[in-house]
């Protein structure tokens, strides 16, 4: 990132937002698409404004569970990847279970979630975790397995223990992969929290984005559904931007993907 980059970071997305938004608005107007099928951006925005209080409260609630889930994913996913990286046999024996976690629909294990974790934020966090952990595992693992063999040799020469090799070599060199995993996981944590809310939200005093979506679907308020989805996306984008910032800060000196821009 060079000087004056703040502007160039803001302008392109704004321009594309305006162009795509306006294009969509016109297209939907031209085809006279009814709001109950797909609301125009302007309608979604006014729904967003009308429900600003409710939706921002919902977003905060979902944000909490999603970010907790994401943190757990980062920590446990990273740890699991480290364990899996230790030996091909460990990988063959246990990697398949990670796939199991990835392919299980949250509704199928909803009772277990709520009975083990209780209704509310804990179960929702667990859902966010389950949905978002696999990309962290897969990416970190592939990073750990791609460590430059010459550098591994160096550490072997100095009889670096497993832990030292891990901390000072394998983990740093898998940072780019880990961050890509985190980028994917950040959106998945949001969707995981939303799906978790579908099955475990305590909504007596409002609820999260998931509940807001459910309610809006039941009330057939498509504009509000999209407004809630938009909030979810903004949340995902927020996480995404944080990961990009972490990526820039941790790799600006040494990794092509950050030094080239």
């Amino acid at each position: 990132m060079t000087h004056g980059s703040r502007l160039s970071a803001i302008v392109p997305p704004l321009v594309s937002l305006l162009v795509i938004g306006a294009g969509l608005e016109l297209a939907l107007l031209a085809t006279a698409t009814p709001t109950y099928l797909m609301p125009r951006p302007s309608v979604v925005l006014s729904a967003l404004a009308d429900n600003a209080g409710e939706l921002s409260r919902a977003t905060l609630q979902t944000a909490l569970a999603a970010s907790l889930g994401l943190v757990f994913s980062a920590v446990f996913g990273g740890t699991i990847a480290v364990v899996l990286s230790m030996h091909p046999w460990v990988r063959r024996a246990f990697y398949p279970y990670a796939v199991f976690f990835q392919t299980v629909p949250v509704v199928a294990i909803a009772p277990m979630l709520v009975i083990w974790f209780g209704y509310g934020i804990r179960a929702i966090t667990a859902a966010a975790f389950i949905v978002s952990v696999f990309p962290i595992i897969a990416n970190t693992l592939s990073g750990l397995l791609s460590t430059d063999p010459a550098l591994c040799d160096l550490f072997r020469i100095y009889r670096a223990g497993r832990l030292a090799t891990l901390l000072k070599l394998r983990l740093p060199s898998s940072i780019p992969h880990f961050l890509t995993g985190l980028r994917i996981a950040s959106g998945l944590a949001v969707i995981g929290a939303i799906v978790g809310e579908f099955v475990a939200d305590t909504y007596q005093a409002g609820g999260g984005i998931g509940t807001a979506i459910e309610v809006a679907i039941k009330e057939q308020k498509t504009d509000k559904v999209f407004a809630a989805v938009l909030m979810a996306s903004l949340l995902g984008l927020g996480f995404f931007a944080l990961v990009n910032l972490a990526s820039f800060l941790s790799m600006r000196h040494w990794h092509v993907s950050e030094t080239k821009e």
């Binding site: 010459a150 100095y158 670096a160 000072k168 070599l169 790799m251 000196h253």
Partner: protein, 260 residues
């Protein structure tokens, strides 16, 4: 470039270890790189290894270091060789660390306190002429600078066995001479065991107690020749007749190894 004076010269109390290689074989795919290879390196000996490109010099070094497993035979190292140091043919620096922290890495791995190891690293960096580059990242260095960082890193542990794979190939003649001198000083002070792969016959004769020439095929030892020039050898020794004749002798074997 400053030469920090090494510890006083006590040849009998050297830190070097002896290495015995017997019946060593290594092949890759169908290529037999080393076959039934025998070699003994005495404790505190400076051995130069010469040979055509691709003949198996790096492979031999890796086997000695235990980085590669032989198909047959063994490498026995008398007493604990640790710390070993190895300057790889490619610099192999950690891209996310500054030059200073790259050089300090071996001490970090052995638990030397931070201040102490950074101090040692800074001193060595100055010795290899990179005092000013301490804060840069490897990607910001020239090829020769990277090799020097790698050398500094190898020397920071005071190794008992030092394996060098063409450490000075990317350096200009003068920097090279300075480092040759420095390495000789270090060697005379510590008497570690050194295995030094080089393509420069003159450098081999200048530095080594003994020079080995390998053949292009099959890793046979074509000659195993002691270099009897007295130490310390000064730059001027390179203009003497003895030096020239040693060089000529090795060159001749090398030429013959090439056609082999």
């Amino acid at each position: 470039m400053s030469h920090s004076p090494p510890r006083p010269h006590t040849p009998e109390s050297g830190i070097g270890v002896a290495v015995s290689i017997s019946k060593l074989s290594r092949h890759f795919g169908g290529r037999q790189v080393l076959a039934d290879f025998h070699l003994r390196i005495d404790a505190g000996e400076f051995l130069a290894v010469l040979g055509p490109s691709g003949c198996g010099k790096s492979t031999l070094l890796r086997l000695i270091a235990g980085l590669d497993r032989p198909d047959a035979g063994r490498v026995a190292i008398d007493s604990n060789p640790w710390p070993i140091a190895y300057v790889f043919q490619d610099p192999s620096l950690l891209p996310w660390r500054t030059v200073l922290h790259n050089v300090a890495l071996p001490l970090e791995l052995t638990g030397v306190p931070k201040e102490q190891r950074l101090h040692a690293a800074a001193k060595l960096l100055a010795t290899v002429g990179l005092g000013e580059a301490a804060g840069r990242f490897p990607a910001q260095l020239s090829g020769g600078m990277r090799m020097r960082v790698s050398l500094a890193r190898a020397l920071i542990t005071e190794p008992r066995l030092l394996l060098l794979d063409e450490p000075f190939a990317a350096l200009d003649a003068l920097t090279r001479q300075h480092l040759d001198d420095y390495l000789q000083g270090l060697f005379m002070a510590r008497r570690m065991t050194v295995v030094f792969v080089t393509h420069s016959i003159a450098e081999a004769v200048f530095l080594a107690d003994r020079a080995l020439v390998l053949s292009a095929a099959g890793g046979t030892i074509l000659t195993d020749r002691p270099i009897a020039l007295p130490r310390p050898r000064r730059e001027a020794v390179q203009t003497t007749v003895e030096f020239a004749s040693e060089c000529a002798a090795l060159a001749q074997v090398l030429a013959q190894g090439h056609s082999a």
